[in-house]
């Protein structure tokens, strides 16, 4: 026993290193579980509050540009949604899709933290459960798809950006309607890849890629980007399509969170069908 204690004392540096390193690696491996614990993520009150203050300061320097963007967005929304109406002064709109009678709720939120340089990029928004934001809601900006809400605290929420190698978006070609999965592989933040488009589809550079609407997170027809390069390996049955994303992720300020009140109904019905 005494020898054992002497051994521990003699090698305490290495032993302590191994223990702390194992704890850290455990954090990394259980990453998703820890993501959920809002305390350690940037939904955390202290760090999110600090980011909020910092971004408020930085915002003053960007007011001109933000004003311009908001004005453009307003004009765009007004032209697109003649039948929409304002439900509250908090810029909150109910949009009735006249084709499918589906109902989507759009809530504006401000980006207070954002990254594009990691393999797993996340965005923090300044609205949370108190503003009706829930996990799994889609997030778009005036220029296209941004991501999906992951964690929500009372006043903040974190969003998995499209620029996250764990994220997949169901996307389709606007012209032909063929759909596939859009993924980002890391590296340049302007480009992502569209998979699973069969080789008999007709794809041209410049074709528009939009959301397919099959996922119950995003309504169909929201812009994602345009085709930049089309690659078809001999013997492959699917295209490899490089997509230029329409959203400039380095320059996000205001986004809209899409609520879909009928989502639960849709998912339950689909589940029932599978179980039958």
């Amino acid at each position: 026993m005494r020898n054992f204690i002497r051994f521990i004392i003699k090698h305490h540096f290495v032993i302590l290193f191994v223990i702390i390193e194992l704890i850290s690696i455990l954090f990394v491996v259980n990453y998703n579980a820890y993501q959920r614990s809002v305390f350690l993520s940037s939904s955390n009150r202290v760090s999110a509050g600090m980011y909020g203050t910092f971004s408020e300061g930085a915002e003053y320097l960007m007011l001109r540009q933000i004003n311009k963007e908001l004005a453009q967005e307003n004009a765009y929304l007004r032209s697109r949604l003649p039948e929409s109406f304002k439900a509250s002064k908090d810029y909150f709109q109910l949009v009735f899709d006249s084709l499918s009678q589906q109902e989507y709720v759009y809530r504006a939120a401000k980006v207070i933290n954002n990254s594009t340089n990691k393999r797993f990029n996340y965005i923090t928004l300044n609205k949370g459960a108190n503003n009706g934001i829930e996990p799994e809601m889609g997030v778009i900006s005036s220029r296209g798809v941004v991501g999906i809400v992951k964690n929500v605290s009372d006043n903040y929420s974190t969003v998995i950006s499209v620029l996250n190698t764990r994220m997949k978006v169901s996307a389709r070609l606007k012209e032909s309607g063929f759909f596939g999965a859009l993924e980002w592989h890391g590296g340049a933040y302007q480009y992502a890849y569209l998979r699973e488009i069969p080789r008999h589809a007709n794809v041209n550079v410049g074709d528009v890629i939009e959301t397919s609407g099959y996922s119950s997170i995003f309504p169909g027809g929201i812009l994602i980007g345009t085709v930049q390069e089309v690659d078809l390996q001999t013997g492959e049955s699917f295209y490899e399509i490089k997509v230029k994303l329409s959203v400039d992720y380095k320059n996000l300020s205001y986004v809209e969170v899409i609520g879909h009140p009928l989502k639960v109904e849709q998912i339950n019905l689909e589940k029932e069908t599978i179980n039958d």
């Binding site: 540096f13 390193e21 850290s24 954090f27 940037s42 760090s47 340089n117």
Partner: protein, 172 residues
């Protein structure tokens, strides 16, 4: 050594704030990111006990992690670097040993000693960090390129910040 305490408390908060508020937003050519906060561990006094080094490494890493949504990655890399530090210091010890009352900064031990010492630790930290982040060897060479580019960038910032650091020159 107690006289250095305020300096290190200031350094800790200063480097973490600089890291999360400024440097995390710098992306040179897309995905090269400097990690200046490692300088806090690099410049800790020679007499720092081993356990304290590891604990401080962990605390620094996890603080940066919390702000960048990467729980565990910076912590494990910083702990790994703190673990290597005593061995690197021993390997680079000058002939007359480290003088009491000095700390491992450029003003006390000169540019070439400091550069070699810091570069080994920065490279170890970045290697560990980027490979843990990717968590596979599939993108081996693209990751290696990121490690090298980011290390060079970090070293540049470390040298620049050392030029501004306080501490009487020993003229070794």
């Amino acid at each position: 050594m107690i006289s250095y305490l305020p300096r290190y408390i200031f350094n800790f908060f200063f480097f973490i704030l600089i890291q999360v508020l400024v440097l995390n937003n710098i992306q040179f050519s897309g995905f090269v990111n400097p990690y200046l906060y490692v300088l806090f561990i690099i410049t800790l006094p020679f007499e720092t006990p081993g356990w304290l080094l590891l604990v401080l490494g962990f605390v620094t890493g996890i603080s940066v992690d919390i702000f960048s949504n990467t729980i565990g990655m910076h912590a494990s890399a910083a702990v790994f670097m703190a673990f290597l530090r005593p061995y690197v210091l021993r390997a680079f010890a000058p002939r007359e040993e480290y003088q009491p009352g000095t700390i491992p900064i450029m003003n006390h031990y000169g540019f070439s000693w400091f550069f070699r010492y810091a570069f080994i630790l920065v490279l170890a930290h970045h290697l560990f960090l980027f490979y843990v982040e990717v968590f596979s060897l599939t993108h081996f060479f693209s990751t290696l390129w990121r490690v090298i580019a980011s290390s060079a960038f970090t070293m540049l910032l470390i040298i620049v910040s050392q030029l501004f650091s306080r501490g009487k020159s020993r003229g070794r």
